[in-house]
């Protein structure tokens, strides 16, 4: 059955579909996306310092992490505080497999990702099975409890995890620090650069996968569940299964990204992989960018990570400006305070975030026309 056929006059829905298909290559957002990809791809070539390249990749990593969190919180309406924990699982899987129990080989690298994904998927399913059925708030509390415990365990089981000191994994072959392969376009092709591109490709692939996920029939069903769970249930959807799929999917993506993160920074410790601060960062990023937008993560991650790299300078300003008063000095040092205030303000005044607000303005303008 070809419903797009030229038979009768097309219905408005068919017309809009045809229009959408024809305009596929004329959408400004498409070019924005391509330009962004190009910017990330060219960063090692164009950017002068390693610091900036590091910042770029962390933005890419966190933007993807935030998008995976958005699948859970924005598209499905489930508040999870365990997302960073799955990120940590991925990171620790790489750390343990390559740095503690295995050796720097491709086999162990693959094993690490397999382990991270499997453990995360299993735990996400178990937590979801326990708590999704009951009430949304349960999920928030239980995931927070699990995340806190994961952190405690990582610190306490030091014979396994290296405790607070963490683990520094060594990467195999082309990822190794020692790897070099001459110059291309004036850039040293070394282990760092190879890792950069591999991680970037993984991020891009994950992003596309998630985009497909949220726009697929399944993703639409998730949005319906978020909007009116009872009604979705009454349509015959097993809402519980859908929520479980969504939260597990988000967790698995987070685990893969955690693994990538460990590959990039080549170091895992409880503070950098499992602390609640990562969760708070991700939360703020998704709120700044806009929940339920997927791309908001890019803006959130860019704003927050850029600000963070500038913060050490702020501290210096503080000691310079208030040499006498300890409290005033602390007031400038404690940037987390301003982070908290920003957090509250954004939730209050821009609950839809940057992208959500822009989309709203655009659609209102379209409607006015």
């Amino acid at each position: 059955m070809t419903s797009d056929g030229p038979s009768a006059a097309p219905t408005p829905v068919q017309a809009s579909r045809i229009l959408e298909r024809e305009a596929r290559f004329r959408q400004p957002t498409l070019y924005l996306r391509l330009a962004l990809t190009a910017a990330f791809a060219l960063a090692p070539v164009l950017l002068p310092s390693f610091q900036l390249m590091d910042l770029m990749l962390k933005i890419a990593l966190f933007a993807t992490l935030v998008a995976s969190y958005d699948v859970v919180i924005g598209y499905t309406g489930i508040v999870s505080f365990g997302h960073a924990m799955f990120f940590g699982f991925g990171a620790y899987a790489v750390g343990l497999s390559l740095g503690k129990f295995g050796a720097p080989t491709y086999g162990y690298l693959a094993l690490a990702f397999a382990l991270g994904v499997l453990v995360s998927a299993a735990l996400a399913l178990v937590i979801g099975a326990f708590s999704l059925r009951v009430k949304a708030l349960f999920f928030a509390m239980i995931t927070l409890a699990f995340a806190e415990y994961a952190l405690i365990l990582a610190v306490q089981l030091s014979h396994l995890t290296g405790g607070e000191d963490g683990i520094s994994p060594k990467l195999p072959g082309v990822f190794a620090v020692s790897f070099t392969a001459g110059k291309v376009l004036g850039v040293d092709v070394n282990g760092r650069v190879v890792t950069y591109y591999v991680v970037l490709v993984v991020c891009l692939a994950l992003f596309l996968t998630m985009s497909r996920f949220v726009h697929s029939p399944l993703g639409r069903t998730l949005q319906a569940i978020r909007d009116n769970e009872q009604r979705a249930e009454a349509l015959g959807y097993r809402t519980f299964i859908f929520q479980l799929i969504s939260s597990s999917f988000g967790s698995v993506v987070a685990a893969v990204l955690g693994g990538c993160y460990a590959m990039w920074v080549r170091y895992v410790n409880p503070e950098s992989a499992l602390s609640i601060q990562i969760m708070l960062d991700v939360l703020l990023m998704v709120i700044i960018g806009g929940m339920g937008t997927l791309y908001g993560g890019i803006i959130g991650a860019a704003v927050l990570l850029t600000a963070r790299t500038l913060l050490p300078d702020l501290r210096a300003v503080g000691t310079l400006m208030f040499p006498g008063s300890e409290i005033l000095q602390r007031l400038t040092e404690r940037w987390l305070l301003y982070f908290g205030i920003l957090f509250i303000l954004v939730v209050f005044f821009f609950p839809k975030g940057v992208i959500g607000t822009v989309r709203e303005v655009l659609s209102r303008r379209n409607a006015a026309r």
Partner: protein, 322 residues
Amino acid sequence: MKIALPTLLLGLLLPLAFIEPRVYLTLTVAGLAMGMLIFLVASGLTLIFGLMDVLNFAHGALFSWGAYIGFSVVLALNQRLGWAESPSVGLNALLLLLAILAAMLVAAGLGMVLERVIVRPVYGKHMFQILITLGATIVMEELIRIVWGPNDQVVPIPLTFQGSWDIADVIVLRFPIVAIVLGVAVYLGILLLLKLTRVGLIVRAGVENGEMVQVMGHNIYRYFTAVFAAGSALAALGGLMWAVFSQSVRPAMGGEHLIFAFIVVIIGGLGSVTGSVIGALMVGLAYNYVAFLVPKAAIGVNMAIMVLILLLRPTGLFGAGK
């Protein structure tokens, strides 16, 4: 509920098979005290949640504020007047009482401000409640670091509450007894307030339909503010008691104990005060028994109980579930 009581008794008596009775008794008293301390933390959370349907993530920060305010009072009175080091039971008790009062008052004030400024606009929106109280937590914890500094500090303990009594070879620490008495008092107080008073009734009605309660002539916001202030004061009480119990204060202490409170509230069932007491006692006792028998397993015991309870009853022991 029919299976809960026998199970509880069994859990209480089972460790006797492995532990010498006198040690068992000591552990039991310690467990009860720890349970009551945890309950003090969880009570305010349960109260606010049960009555106002607000999950207050800022509870942990209020806990820390209570601990620090109480600590400041104890420190000041001890440095100036030496009340903590004084052997006088009266002065010691007065000191603790004043510290508790100050902590609860300040926290109640903070709670009122929180409710008015950031919680009121988001009633009924769970996700925003979580986010906004989380933001408040960050701000309040940072303020502690700014005012009192970022490092751990030692809390001087009044002499009367130090040490232990030795009753028939059973060692009973003194301070935990205070905690148990206080916990029972708080529990009974909350129950009385909810079941018997008009305030409880109006607040429960307001949760369901605030507009309707207003057109019946009740200023519902005043009641909500009061409940929030009361819950915050309880958080502070919990914080101070933990500070005295562990003899130290840290800016991040609230967040860590909030997890305890969450576990207890989940075990007991969201919003049930009785559930929280039982959950807290279970956690406190189990922790002590397990820490004695298999020290390495002690960190996981809370989680194990929580998972077990959720397996049996997904809504917790006394949870209504929705």
